[in-house]
Amino acid sequence: MGDPLFWHRLQFGFTATFHYLFPQLTMGLAFIIVVLKALGLKTGEARYNDAARFWIRIFGINFAIGVVTGIPMEFQFGTNWAQFSRFSGGIIGQTLGMEGMFAFFLESSFLGLLVWGEKKLSPKGHFGAALALWVGSWLSGYFIIATNAFMQHPVGYTMGADGTVQLASFWTFLLNPWALVQYAHNMVATVVTGSFVVAAVGAFWSLKGIHETQARLNLKVGTILGLVFSVLVAFPTGDLQGKMVAKHQPVTLAAMEGRFDSGTHAPLTLIGQPNVAQRRIENPIRLPAVLSFIAYGSFSSNVKGLEAFPQDQWPQNIEFLYYAFHIMAGLGTLMILVMALAVLLLWRKKLDSSRAMLWVLMLAFPFPYIATTAGWVVTEFGRQPWLLYGLLRTTQGGSPTVNAGQTAFTTLGFAGIFVVLGILFLFLVGRELAHGPESHAEKA
């Protein structure tokens, strides 16, 4: 507890986790709003614009919290990770700077137009604002993922004379293969979050028997997009992520899978409890040789276990990593099943009358949030003990002049502010849900 590093890590992880609850809905909804506005333009039907207008209100509230929780993230590189910033700022500063220049300016300029500008703009103009916001938010996603990807798999750098990393190839760095894969997986996941939320709201109205046209529309859009993107999140993108980890961070893969021994025909553990002290999985249920296939494309390939690596290269919290990964992948499977069933009912025109399914859809919206958070835990804890994989250890990255007391104090400060923000968010979104879409549906 007296260790500053402990608090730096706690503070960063806590604030990043909280921040990410909001941008994932921003990015997912931005896409869905573009879809709704496009359908509205194409068909000329008012119900699409009504739905878009409702989601834009939610978007506005969500975005505001995303902005104010994002600002401290940017500062923490300097305040909490001074040595890390000094070491790698010449490279990750590039993407963080570009994020401001190319993405945040775009988003902040068009947000007001999207939320409050419908009356002043033509329908095409309003669609344009939605499009700009979608591009802006997905661009900001790319720059931040590229930053993170450099920490996972550094490329495009050379070691400078002063012992810091220097940019060697801008494009190699920006188009890091790790970033491309991570981006695809992550962005697909944001649409999953968005569609689960849309479907849950549709289900809620449907169960209450209010706003019927809108309930049906939201259910339809939410479940169809939900199914498509839930599948995409597992395959091909999740699968590619796994292969990336297998190739560049084999020790992380071993920890995620709870694999202690090396060997060919590695089985995939579906369930089981890792016991790190005795280096085995207890009560496992396994699929023989499947892990070898998933990781390297052949049942007979050799998947190294943790024993093949020196212990000072192991991620510190193997149990946590193992459970987080299995929660993500498990929920991913469950979410495909839920959406597949819902779409089946939709196709048979039985979704509106199937109360059990509606209940499931209404209550399932936390699943993607849990899965994305677990996913980040896998990414960030899996990277340990490195801050920059293979280059800089986490123990070397903190701020030398900041002590544990200060960081503990500010962490508590954040906890306080975040509680208030969380309550405000739920309260304001709850009000919008109770209002429903019609109340804003007067002709623009």
Binding site: E74, S85, M101, F102, F105, S108, S399, T410
Partner: protein, 348 residues
């Protein structure tokens, strides 16, 4: 290249202060110039569509500093640790109060956010001013390139000063008055009726105060950092900056007298921009001056990341900067004219 980036970062920070400055100013003054709910919503309507974009200049400026001079960022942010978080918390509360105030029609709710908006808008310029004061006065950077500072010690200026001492507080108050004046001119330009009249009357008084504080602060700076002005006459950019801020000051008074609010507002923008640029010219190439030994100071030369990174950054900077200016031109045009409070349930 290092010199160019020193100026790019300085310019971005200065643009940030000019732009976010007017919405800080609106926040400082709104309790005084806008009395009714309608009037408050007029003020918020004037800055609502702009404040987030203005704040992005801080992020983009910070990002530019990160990529070009990471050693300065690392040392400064961790050295000012607690002050940094005060700034961030104020920014957070301010953003939320602008965005959420008008969501509910309840009087108590609105009073609460109005006060939060005012308090955070008053604290921020003082903190930013104090930050500038620290840069001009110097901080105890040692051989490791880092420093550690208490929020305040005995309020004296020495080799181990606090973040707040008499000098930095003075600069903080100067910043508060300047941004209040800047915001008053912005509101005079964008509003009509009672808000306009009150803002204009206040602007006159505030700018008188700014003039006095400017002279006092300049004198104080020459005491805490002797020789700081020696650079100025030697740098052509310093001359230019001085010209800009003096012209700005004249415009402020002329514009206010002749009831040409846009002219006065442009003048106050030029004053802030020029004054910050002149300060940058004074300290160049030092970014964090060491109070212990000039050899420990972090400068644009010894803290830079070196050629390849700076060159790559310049390429996208030159593309991104005009685009960003384009958005702002578009926004200001789109929202041109005087603001009116939006209907309930809409707008800010």
């Amino acid at each position: 290249m290092e010199m160019l980036w020193f100026w790019l970062v300085s310019v971005m920070v200065a643009i940030y202060v000019v732009l976010d400055g007017f919405d800080f100013g609106a926040g400082i003054l709104h309790l005084f110039v806008a009395k009714t709910n309608e009037e408050r919503r007029e003020v918020l309507g004037a800055i609502g569509p702009l404040w987030d974009g203005n704040e992005v200049w801080l992020l983009a400026g910070g990002g530019s500093m990160f990529l070009a001079f990471p050693k300065v960022l690392a040392s400064g942010f961790s050295g000012f640790y607690l002050a940094m978080w005060l700034v961030v918390w104020c920014l957070m509360l301010r953003g939320i109060s602008i965005e959420f105030r008008s969501h509910l029609k309840d009087g108590l709710w609105r009073h609460f956010w109005d006060s939060t908006f005012a308090v955070s808008s008053i604290l921020l310029p003082i903190l930013f001013g104090a930050a500038l004061g620290n840069v001009l006065r110097g901080v105890p950077v040692d051989g490791s390139g880092y420093f550690e500072m208490a929020l305040w010690t005995n309020f004296r200026v020495g080799t181990h000063p606090g973040i707040l001492d008499w000098y930095t507080v003075l600069i903080g108050v100067f910043a508060l008055a300047t941004l209040a004046g800047h915001g008053a001119l912005f509101l005079a330009w964008k509003t009509e009726g009672p808000v306009h009249d009150r803002a204009r009357a206040l602007a006159m008084k505030l700018w008188g105060l700014v003039l006095v504080l400017w002279i006092v602060s300049s004198y104080a700076t020459s005491i805490v950092n002797p020789g700081v002005f020696e650079n100025l006459p030697k740098a052509p950019l310093g001359w230019l900056a001085t010209l800009i801020f003096l012209a700005g000051l004249v415009l402020v008074f002329v514009g206010t007298k002749q009831a040409r609010p846009l002219l006065a507002f442009i003048g106050s923008g030029a004053f802030i921009l020029g004054l910050l640029a002149a300060s940058a010219a004074c300290v160049y190439p030092v970014m964090l001056r060491s109070t212990l030994d000039p050899a420990y100071s972090l400068t644009a030369l010894n803290a830079s990341v070196g050629g390849p990174g700076l060159r790559a950054g310049l390429v996208w900077w030159l593309i991104g900067f005009p685009i960003a200016l384009g958005y702002f031109a578009f926004l200001f045009r789109f929202h041109r004219g005087k603001v009116k409070a939006a209907a309930e349930g809409e707008g800010y």
